[in-house]
Symmetry: C2
Subunit: 319 residues, 2 copies
């Protein structure tokens, strides 16, 4: 069974008297009265990260993917809890030292503090990260308006190429291999944009499962559709090289997920503010499509205005 | 390596600028300014619960053991997040239905609300539970005073006998088997005592690892010792029967953990309040020893005033 079905069928009703849970249909929990925003995520070896050969990078990646949930909602993360299950093979002294050093660096970079957690013995390596922020407002899902522009920060697809390199499915030259692997392990969170989001975004989500999957999630309770333009989906210079050399197709790699960029919609009147902010903060923000009414069918168009579908609608857990 | 060593060596320093983490040396995180109290615990099949043959009971047990962390600190839990890793064998539709029903019953019993979480696919079954409460004060560890009396709520040892029955190491008659198994799965949390604790307890902890292990943790940063009297350690009528019939020894089963009773210390002047409350709430509260200065050695005395040691100092995770 699909993980969303599980939540809908067995767990949503348990949160019915708890408005802060947002019907378990958002990335975060938000208690407005207490100004409290919380996100909980579990990461498992073999599913969310390939292996633990680079503990320092794996830990940075999962911590960033965890705080990304708050950042995309306009909330600065403050505290995090990490609960690690592993054994003497995965949590060796050497690895623990690396994990500790990684956490220290991330704490400095994002002004967050380790606040607790748990270490338990298990053959299978996994981590659950709880992230806490404080805010009297968040940007919700399902608040897109008809005719909103759809925007995305940064570039998409680099992380997916990095994963393919790590899985030895592509091999490029050392420089490119290193570039894409770094993009996979160290998502470039748009931390400086966090608090600014309120000034223009109607609704937002971070891209973890894939552009299309997350766009669908962003408006899943709304009677809306969208148009996306492949040409406008931002990619890095390095990914552009691979596309130009026909090593990969753009449409096969921009909706694969793990990008941790912010996907949001804004009314047209905000485009000047967005462009201005993009320049002043030095953050790439690209308009990639628009929100339409429910009568239209959601469509993606290629460079020649042909309707296409983006390969891979995203990653889901099936049971 | 011992889990406490891991925390001390690799993680304590990461929380150094974060007073709310209580140096990672308490059961909870407490942000006084935000009135926020948080506990995070991970439970793994084969370690924290034997198997998943009784999903309804396992889920109740781990949820209670999680909220017990807040209750013993004088804080009412309000929200919980549950992150489950499992697969199509452990998280079947039938099991999910049972889990959902169990959570519903526990929510009603303890006035708590499911607020989020995560479901991920994994061969190994595990759960991480995050519990949140709101309070401007908590009862800390390491605040015992010399000459304090040591108290414990409820009875100790029943859960351990239940575990032995489940592991088929003891077999009693059906009625007793059922009684002890129930005590193992459904710890009798002293929920009604939660807010009252502030009126008499100097320091407190819940007994999860075992009476002695948790008493040592309770005062681990203090230069103190204790005297305990085996005779005064409370056991149920049913456990008394087994002891009288020489099926088990009292000293071998009252410090095994999984009791989820509250262990606290109070000044002698509070004994009247405690007895009065115990009667009015119908909650058994037993004085089992006293706190002494560091010059004395911690001792446990049996019925004949002989010094003894309680078998099993508690459960720790070693890596």
């Amino acid at each position: 069974m699909h993980e969303f079905e599980i939540i809908k069928k067995y767990f949503s009703k348990l949160s019915i008297n708890n408005r802060s849970s947002l019907n378990l249909n958002d990335d975060v929990f938000f208690d407005k009265l207490k100004n409290l925003v919380i996100s909980v995520d579990t990461y498992i070896e073999g599913t969310h990260f390939i292996d633990f050969k680079k503990p320092d990078l794996v830990v940075k990646k999962i911590l960033r993917s965890s705080i990304s949930d708050l950042i995309c909602k306009g909330v600065n993360p403050k505290y995090y809890f990490i609960s690690g299950s592993g054994n003497e093979r995965s949590l060796t002294k050497k690895n623990l030292k690396k994990i500790s050093q990684s956490l220290k660096e991330e704490q400095k970079k994002y002004s967050i503090y380790l606040s607790g957690g748990d270490t338990v013995n298990s053959k299978k390596l996994s981590f659950t990260i709880t992230t806490i922020g404080f805010s009297n407002k968040i940007i919700f899902r399902n608040k897109a308006k008809i005719n909103d522009d759809i925007y995305v920060t940064g570039n998409l697809g680099d992380s997916f190429i990095g994963l393919k390199i790590l899985k030895k499915k592509i091999n490029l030259n050392k420089e490119l291999n290193d570039y894409f692997k770094k993009k996979y392990f160290l998502p470039d969170l748009k931390f400086n944009l966090t608090n600014k989001l309120f000034s223009f975004a109607n609704t937002s989500i971070d891209i973890s499962d894939g552009l299309i999957a997350d766009l669908n999630k962003l408006i899943n309770k709304q009677n809306l559709s969208y148009k996306l333009y492949l040409n406008d989906i931002p990619v890095s210079k390095n990914l552009r090289k691979l596309i130009n050399m026909n090593i990969v197709k753009k449409k096969s790699c921009v909706s694969k997920g793990d990008d941790y960029q912010i996907l949001f919609t804004s009314s047209k009147s905000k485009s000047r503010i967005i462009n201005k902010l993009s320049k002043s903060l030095g953050i790439k923000i690209s308009k990639i499509g628009k929100i339409c009414n429910h009568k239209a069918k959601s469509q993606i168009y290629d460079e020649k205005n042909r309707k296409i579908s983006l390969k891979n609608d995203g990653y889901y857990h099936n049971f």
